[in-house]
């Protein structure tokens, strides 16, 4: 239970980092549009979190 909570907390931390990073990038007025920045950061998050096994 404690391990699950810890892993969940770590994933939430990564999500919060992604959200802050996307908000900061969105404030820089990207020409591709703020929604595109958010969805690409989401993809980064999913790909990164799925890659624990890779050397």
């Amino acid at each position: 239970m404690a391990r699950t909570a810890r892993v969940g907390g770590l994933v939430a931390l990564a999500g919060a980092f992604g959200l802050v990073a996307a908000m900061l990038a969105g404030n820089a007025d990207p020409s591709v549009g703020v929604p595109s920045v958010f969805v690409l950061v989401s993809l980064s998050l999913v790909v990164g979190l799925s890659t624990a096994a890779s050397p």
Partner: protein, 193 residues
């Protein structure tokens, strides 16, 4: 990586080692983002507003292509590197610098084995965004989340890192499909937006 870093964090301060690994991932990803961001600015200077059109076409098409491979719909040889993070770094560089360097190396994204083809779209999108903060955000979040995944796996493993590696290996294919499906959704969202 879990099998290598797991036993190492039993030596010294575990939380410090894992935090350094995550920091290395963030710095590695951000470094790639800075390089690609400047390349994107050069492209923006050369192409002007055309770069937005290139982004809107190339990124969704690349996501569609990568997702088709990750989902197993396109049975073609994957683009990847055979290089792995050098296991000798903690001995050569020192315990904590070695663990930081592993995070940095993995956070760069393209210098080690590429498990999902969708990963290759991240540096492409970062470059074509033509915006430095966007490129840094995309790649730094990748580096951070990849390092956090290692930390989570080490934390969940307890002392049995070999079993943790086996458990991760059994989830590689399902995770690949999750990444592929996510890439498809992202492609659709970019086209809609």
């Amino acid at each position: 990586m879990v099998g290598q870093i797991g036993p190492l964090v039993q030596v010294g301060r575990k939380n410090t080692a894992l935090a350094l690994h995550v920091l290395g991932g963030v710095v590695g990803g951000a470094t790639t983002g800075v390089v690609l961001g400047f390349a994107g600015l050069l492209l923006l200077a050369a192409l002007g507003d055309t770069l937005d059109t290139v982004f809107a076409i190339v990124v969704p098409v690349a996501l569609l292509y990568a997702a088709s491979i990750d989902l197993g719909l396109l049975p073609i040889r994957q683009i990847t590197s055979e290089r792995q993070t050098p296991g000798a770094w903690p001995c050569a560089l020192g315990h904590y610098p070695g663990i930081f360097s592993w995070g940095f190396d993995l956070g760069i994204g393209v210098t080690t084995r590429i498990p999902y083809q969708s990963l290759l779209v991240l540096p492409l999108a970062a470059t074509l965004s033509g915006n430095l903060p966007t490129a840094v955000a995309i790649m730094a979040v990748y580096g951070a989340s990849r390092a956090v995944a290692v930390v989570a796996a080490v934390s969940a493993a307890g002392e049995d890192f070999a079993a943790a590696c086996d458990a991760i290996q059994t989830r590689v294919m399902p995770l690949k499909r999750v990444v592929g499906a996510t890439a498809l959704v992202i492609a659709a969202l970019i086209v809609i937006s």
